[in-house]
Symmetry: C2
Subunit: 393 residues, 2 copies
């Protein structure tokens, strides 16, 4: 049994444990790179039931290494869905009232067409032959999925981090199809520092000889060490200095004294190594390259002559932005920039900055203030959308 078989007992990239929408050669996906992708497919999950009026759908957009398993046990890790704290029966996003759709993004590795998928033209794994995709491409594909599901207008589009970028792109590309939008811990562009961290991660992956120029699956190898280093570096940016200090400080791991060596003497080292090791078991290295690149390229203002407000001109969508005080990957300033642009565009917008030391990761955690903000916003939007009584299917 080689490493590939051991580590990926389920080939989720080609045999996803979820619903799948297939798009054939007649319905290509036009990519920003200037080419068309066809056939392609989107793996997705749904929770709850679409009402008769088809007005209670909430689209959830996942982050960099997320997937469609937002509110069910993950098929590879066996862990709860990544946003089960927020989404489920009786929860803030109540699947007894709303029809929740969560697609795996194009370029991902849990079943939507991505670099680990089999290229139907060649019968071989795409690898780097897959064109580079953008946030707009992801959203374009999601719009085709929403069409396929027979839904004209989404009640809400919600997501954090890269998911938040998709929310902003949805509101900009399809203003009439988004009643309300919840971009969390995100921004309308990727900063220079963020691109820098992504580039370090990509270089770590590509420096691993087991990456094989991107062809590792065909070669029966996996760049696990490089991908683990990439994840470790990224993981630091998801936390805050104060959270690290509070959780780990300079505590030693299972020892009374330093060993004067290069083992994981400190708890923070042991924690990071664990993060790296578990990540490689569930994620494809090339997909990591594609996801980071999509975020790097995201710059909504640039698509509108450099004026961010133009991206939302005339929008009727109601917006609620959420940021976290200790998030240094997407600092509050980036959310505020979006708020100002929405104000300039005359859009309806509310904004909540939440005091926490948990850093960027806060959006995935049990954050009562965030839940209160999202819950309140959705209640008021549901009323405005006439969903209060009609929401239950």
């Amino acid at each position: 049994m080689n490493s590939l078989e051991r580590k990926l007992p389920h080939d989720e990239a080609n045999h996803p444990s979820s619903l799948v929408a297939e798009f054939d050669r007649e319905t290509p996906l036009a990519l920003d790179a200037g080419v068309e992708l066809a056939p392609f497919r989107i793996a997705y999950q749904t929770y709850g039931t679409l009402n008769a009026e088809r007005t209670n759908a909430i689209l959830v957009c996942h982050a960099l290494t997320g997937d469609q398993h937002v509110a069910n046990r993950h098929p590879v890790t066996g862990k709860p869905g990544w946003w089960e704290v927020l989404i489920g029966p009786g929860k803030i996003i109540d699947t007894e009232r709303f029809f929740v759709i969560c697609p795996n993004v194009i370029g991902g590795c849990l079943g939507s067409t991505g670099p680990a998928s089999i290229n139907p033209e060649t019968g071989r794994v795409y690898g780097l032959d897959l064109p580079v995709v953008t946030i707009r491409d992801m959203v374009r594909a999601q719009a085709m999925l929403v069409d396929r599901l027979g839904i004209d207008r989404l009640f809400c589009v919600v997501g954090g981090s890269m998911g938040g970028m998709q929310v902003l792109q949805w509101a900009s590309s399809y203003p009439d199809r988004v009643f309300c939008a919840l971009p969390i811990a995100t921004g309308a562009r990727h900063s220079s520092q963020n691109i820098a961290f992504h580039e370090v991660g990509r270089q770590a992956v590509m420096a691993d000889p087991d990456w094989c120029g991107g062809n590792y699956i065909e070669e029966g190898r996996r760049p696990e060490k490089g991908l683990a280093v990439a994840r470790m570096a990224a993981h630091i940016t998801y936390l805050s200095e104060s959270a690290l200090h509070r959780k780990f400080g300079r505590n030693l791991q299972d020892r009374a004294k330093p060993t004067f060596g290069f083992d994981a003497d400190f708890q923070i080292e042991s924690y990071l190594r664990h993060q790296g090791m578990t990540f490689v078991e569930r994620f494809d290295a090339n997909s990591y390259l594609y996801m980071t690149r999509a975020m790097d390229y995201f710059d909504l203002a640039a698509d509108h002559g450099g004026v961010l407000g133009e991206a939302f001109r005339g929008s009727k969508t109601r917006f609620c932005l959420v940021s976290f005080t200790s998030d240094w990957l997407f600092p509050t300033e980036e959310s505020r920039r979006v708020v100002h642009a929405l104000n300039a565009a005359g859009a309806s917008v509310s904004f909540v900055e939440i005091e926490t030391d948990k850093g960027h990761d806060a959006f995935l955690l049990d954050e009562p203030e965030m839940f209160a903000a999202i819950g309140g916003f959705l209640r008021s939007a549901a009323q405005a959308a006439g969903l209060e009584d009609g929401a239950r299917p």
Copy 2:
């Protein structure tokens, strides 16, 4: 010609282009790891002339990847000394008045005994056989060098970052031998986040198959890719988000449009790759492991029952600390913690926080405010030391 010969035309680790002090088996260096290192050597440079009273010596301690070439052209890179903006004839640290000593630290790779040195016991390169060294070990070795030079008391010990850690250690270990101390952009301990970044760098090096378990020099190989990734990650922490935004923003590198690929589309990517590539030409990968580990282990309070003030109890040394507003590797808070401890210990201390967006790297740059602070402090200390007239040799 193999890669090793191409990249390291001068074997500075064993044939340094500088002065060298040899310490034989009779004068071992006692290490914190509980073993003795003997024989060992310290490569160093001096500038200016020691006065007759031997009272005008300034010891300069270098940072993580620095070396003894503080104020002369670097023998490998051909670039000016790393602190020539500050040190030289007529400069703030005036080599016409002061005798400046700059040693390469123990564990380094420019001539002091380090992992790239030949182990005289075996005739082979030390590699990981060299015991792990600490900041206190570096300082202990420097004290032996200062003895060797016949100097009882240093007028000043100065350094930034890891150099600043050595300054604090000097003042704590040898209070009577340090008239004044200038720790810049530093702290009395390495934070959890800083250990985390170091661990990522080490993992990147050790993941490179050309690292060969630390034995790459004997194997005729070099873990260039891993070390470059480590340097890229570290380099981000030396800058500030705002400096990156100002210098690079989202500007593309020599192209009008993104290429939708994984080349260095953005200037920041190209810049980081360049930083990684040039670094591996001048630095030894194992030495990088040792240097980062020494910083990780540094915790001056822990050596004094957890009370930082105790590290400086009864000190007569005059201190001046300098921090930078945008330094997130050693934020002002870390300097302030040292200032409070020095206050508690009844020491003489001044403290300057300098407003700049240049991040941690500011201490190496042309920072007029820093120069003014250092210059003013040294003038006043020289007067107090009776050096005003007697300084010129």
